[in-house]
Amino acid sequence: MPARRTSAAAFLVLAVAGAALVGCSKKDDGGKGSADGAAGSVQVTATDSKCDLSKTSFPAGHVELAVANKGSKVTELYVYADGDKIVTERENIGPGTKVTINAEIKAGTYEVACKPGMTGDGIRQKITVTAGSSAPAKADDRLTRAVADYRTYAQEQADATIPVVEQFAAAVTAGDVEKAKSLFAASRVGWERTEPVAESFGDVDPKTDTREDALGEGQSWTGWHRIEKSLWVDGKIGDEEKALAAQLVTDLKDWQKRIPEAEITPTGMANGAKELLDEVSKNKITGEEDRYSHTDLSDFAANVEGARQAYELLKPVAAENEPGLSKTLDAEFEKITGLLGKYRAADGTYTSYDKVTEDERKTFSDAVNSLGEPLSKLAAAVVVK
C-alpha cells in the first residue's frame, strides 16, 4: 500500500472530529457556510516567515479557518493534534490567495502550522480549544459502544497478527523460502482487516505495506512487499531480507501498541469500511497489490471482513436511519462473501490471483462496485441528526 496521505488524513479529520461531528449535520453545509455561531472564524495570516492567528483559543465545534497567504511562496496549513496527527490540512495555498478551511475540532490543545514552500515542520503556533457552550448534543450510546467494540476488534486483530508475523520472520531468518511463502498471506490478514486504523497513524503504513512503485524519491523500501519480491522473484533470502523481517516485526508491534490511542469515530469507521473496498477496487482487482505472490484474494477477503465488521457494529443505528441502505448493504456483503467463498480452499487459502480469469475479475469488480457505492453512504447514515 502506498502511503495514501489524503485518505489517511481524511480518516483522521473525521476521527478527531469525534463526538463533535454531531454538531455539523446541517444539511446544506458543504464547506461554504459560515461558522454558524459555534467557534466562529479564525483569521490566519501566512507570510514567508510568519503564521499569525486572530485568536488562539476558541470553543470546540465547527471552526472556520480563513487563511490568507500574503507571502511569496505557496504555503500549506495544518492543524495537528498531539503526536502530529493531522486534524485538518490544506495544501497548495498560492501567494496572494485566500482559502477557507472548515473543520470540526473537539476540546484540547493543538498546533497550527503554516508551511511556506510546503516543506519542513512549518511555523507553529499552539491553540487551545475549549469545551464551549456549543458542545454537541449527547452522542447516541449505541454509537459510543460501536466505537469501543471496533477498537477491541482492531486490537484483537493486531494481537493475533503479531505471532503469525513472528513465525513469518522466523522462516525468513532461517532462510526457509517455502515456509516463508506459505505464511506471507496469513501474516497480513489482521492488518488488512483494520487497515484504516493503521493508516491513521501515518508513519506505520509506509514502513510496512508500501509497494515498490509507490516509493518516493530517496525512500527506502521496507516491509511485506519488499520481502515478497525476494521470496517470489529472487527466490532467495540474504542478510538484508533477514534484517527487513526483523524490522517488520518491530514496526507491527508499534502498530499493535498504538491501537488504544487511535482516534475512532462512527463516521470514521463507516468511511474506513468504504476505504477498504476502495483498496480492493484500486489495487486488488488488478492484481497489483500482491503482484509477486498473487495472494490478492486473501487480502481482498480480509478487507471485506474488516469492512463488514465495522458495518455490523454501526448497523443498529444505520438500519434505523436508512433502512433501505442497510438492506442493500446486507445483501451486497452476502453476495461478495459468497463469491469469495468459491475461491477459498478448505485450509483457508485462496486461489492464486494469476489463475483468476479476466471474466472472473470483472465479476469481482462488479461485486466490489455494488458494495462500495452504497457503503459510501454509510457515514451519513450514522451521523446523529
Partner: protein, 431 residues
C-alpha cells in the same frame, strides 16, 4: 429526499427553472461566487447583489434545454448535438424490483440533468462525511441541449433462454438478433448489452457527466459493458444546416429524415399501434455499430477512387449527375458499387432510416494506426424492414467495405417518451 426529487423532476418551463426546488447549476455558481465576494471584502456585497440579480433570470437567454418529457423520447428526431457518450449496460442482478427502482431513479436524474440541474441532493448538499449525490463536473455548464435516450436489448427479455425479469412475453418481434453480415468482425466487448443510454450534448463534459452519474446510480444493478465517445455529428436531422463531413472527408447523410418531417418520422421511425409489441408504440428501434475506418489506406487512395467509392464529389458533396450537394442524384451515373447508389432510398423501394451517427477517434492502436471511424446510430420503425435488408446489401456490395470494418454491434428497443413527471423509463414495459 424523494419529495425533493419529484419536485426537481418538474417540467422545465421556459424561464421557470429558478422557481423549482432544485438549484440550477448556474444558480449554485452564483451563490458560491457571492459567498467568496462577501468573504473577500465588505464592498463585495455590491458584486454579490449584482450577481444574484443576474441569476434571477431577469435577462432570459435562449433555452439550451431540450424538453425531457414528451410522447417520443428526445435524442431521436431532436436536432443532432455536437457530442456523444453512448453506454451499453449489463444488468447484473436478477431482482426485477431493483431494476425497476433503478429505472425510476434514472428517470429522475435524467429529468434533472437534461434541465441543467444537479442529480439528487446536488454536488455539495449533503453531510460533509458523505460523498455528494452529483459528481459536480457539470457545475456551471448550461444544459447544452443534453438529451438522454434509453433502449432495451434483446438479452433483457431472454438471455440464453433464461427469462430473468419475466419480460419474455413482451419481447418485440422486431428486436431481432441481427444476422451476421459479410465482413463483420464484431468484438464482444463492443457489442450487445441489456440496456443502453445515448447521451448527446453540445458539450462533451455534459454528456460524460450524464453517463457517469447514471452508471453510479446503477451500481449493484447494472454495469457498463462498453461505451463510446463521439464527436462531429456525421449526419444532420435539420435539413437546412450543413451536412458535416465524416472522417473520410466526405459529406454523408445528406438525405436523412428531418426531425421536423412528421410524416416521414411516422412512416419510418416511430413504432405505430399495431406494429407489434404495444408497449413500443411511440418508440423506435436503435441499431448501433462501431465502424472502424482503415484511415491510412483510405488516405492513399486516389481522389477518383474516393469519389467513386461514395458516388459524390469530395469538395461539394454533389452526387454524380448533380452540381450541388442537395441536387437529386443520378444513380445510374454512379458506379454500381458506390455507397450512395446502394444506400439511396430509390435503390431500396423508398426505404429510409434516421441516422444520427458520430465520428470517433480512440487514439491509436498498437500498430500506430488511428483507431477511428464512424459510430453509426440509426433509428427505425422496424429493424427487420430497414437496417437488416439495407446492411445485407451494403455488406455484400459496397465499395466502401474496402476501407471500413464493423467491429461493434448492438440493437435496442427504445420505448416511447416519458410524458410527465412521475412516469419513468420503461414504465410501458415493466409497469
Amino acid at each position: 429526499m424523494d419529495a425533493e426529487n419529484e419536485q426537481q423532476a418538474a417540467p422545465a418551463e421556459s424561464g421557470g427553472r429558478e422557481r423549482q426546488a432544485g438549484l440550477s447549476r448556474r444558480a449554485v455558481i452564483g451563490w458560491a461566487g457571492a459567498g467568496v465576494a462577501l468573504g473577500a471584502a465588505a464592498v463585495g456585497t455590491v458584486a454579490a447583489a449584482t450577481m444574484s440579480s443576474e441569476d434571477d433570470g431577469a435577462a432570459p437567454q435562449p433555452s439550451p434545454e431540450i424538453p425531457f418529457y414528451g410522447e417520443n423520447q428526445s435524442g431521436i428526431s431532436t436536432p443532432v448535438q455536437d457530442r456523444l457518450h453512448f453506454a451499453a449496460f449489463d444488468v447484473i442482478t436478477d431482482d426485477r424490483d431493483a431494476l425497476v427502482r433503478m429505472l425510476k431513479e434514472w428517470t429522475k436524474a435524467a429529468a434533472s440533468i437534461t434541465g441543467g440541474r444537479e442529480v439528487g441532493g446536488g454536488a455539495v448538499g449533503v453531510v460533509p462525511e458523505s460523498p455528494p449525490d452529483d459528481t459536480g463536473e457539470a457545475l456551471g455548464l448550461p444544459a447544452s441541449r443534453l438529451t438522454l435516450t434509453i433502449g432495451f436489448g434483446r438479452t433483457l427479455f431472454d438471455k440464453d433462454g433464461v427469462d430473468r425479469f419475466g419480460l419474455k412475453a413482451k419481447l418485440p418481434e422486431a428486436l431481432v438478433d441481427l444476422p451476421k453480415f459479410k465482413g463483420d468482425r464484431l468484438e464482444a466487448g463492443r457489442s450487445g448489452g441489456d440496456l443502453c443510454i445515448q447521451a448527446c450534448a453540445d458539450d462533451p463534459q455534459v454528456a460524460v457527466h450524464a453517463i457517469r452519474n447514471l452508471a453510479r446510480i446503477g451500481m449493484g444493478v447494472v454495469n457498463v459493458r462498453w461505451s463510446q465517445l463521439g464527436f462531429g455529428k456525421t449526419s444532420s436531422t435539420t435539413p437546412d444546416s450543413q451536412t458535416p463531413r465524416n472522417l473520410m472527408g466526405f459529406k454523408d447523410g445528406t438525405h436523412n429524415i428531418a426531425g421536423t418531417d412528421a410524416d416521414a418520422l411516422a412512416k419510418h421511425v416511430w413504432v405505430a399501434p399495431g406494429d407489434g409489441a404495444d408497449w413500443m408504440t411511440g418508440g423506435s428501434y436503435l441499431v448501433a455499430r462501431r465502424i472502424r475506418m482503415t484511415i491510412e489506406t483510405w488516405d492513399r487512395a486516389s481522389l477518383k477512387d474516393q469519389e467513386d467509392t461514395f458516388g459524390r464529389t469530395k469538395i461539394e458533396g454533389a452526387p454524380y449527375g448533380g452540381q450541388k450537394e442537395r441536387d437529386a442524384p443520378d444513380l445510374a451515373a454512379m458506379p454500381a458499387d458506390s455507397h450512395v447508389r446502394l444506400a439511396h432510398p430509390d435503390s431500396n423501394g423508398g426505404l429510409m432510416i434516421l441516422r444520427r451517427g458520430y465520428s470517433f477517434t480512440d487514439g491509436s492502436d498498437g500498430l500506430g494506426r488511428l483507431d477511428a471511424g464512424l459510430f453509426f446510430l440509426a433509428y427505425q420503425r422496424d429493424t427487420r424492414k430497414a437496417f437488416v435488408p439495407l446492411q445485407t446489401k451494403l455488406a455484400a456490395n459496397d465499395k466502401l467495405n474496402e476501407y471500413i470494418t464493423h467491429v461493434g454491434s448492438a440493437h435496442f428497443a427504445c420505448p416511447p417518451g416519458v410524458r410527465k413527471p412521475g412516469e419513468w423509463w420503461g414504465q410501458s414495459l415493466f409497469g
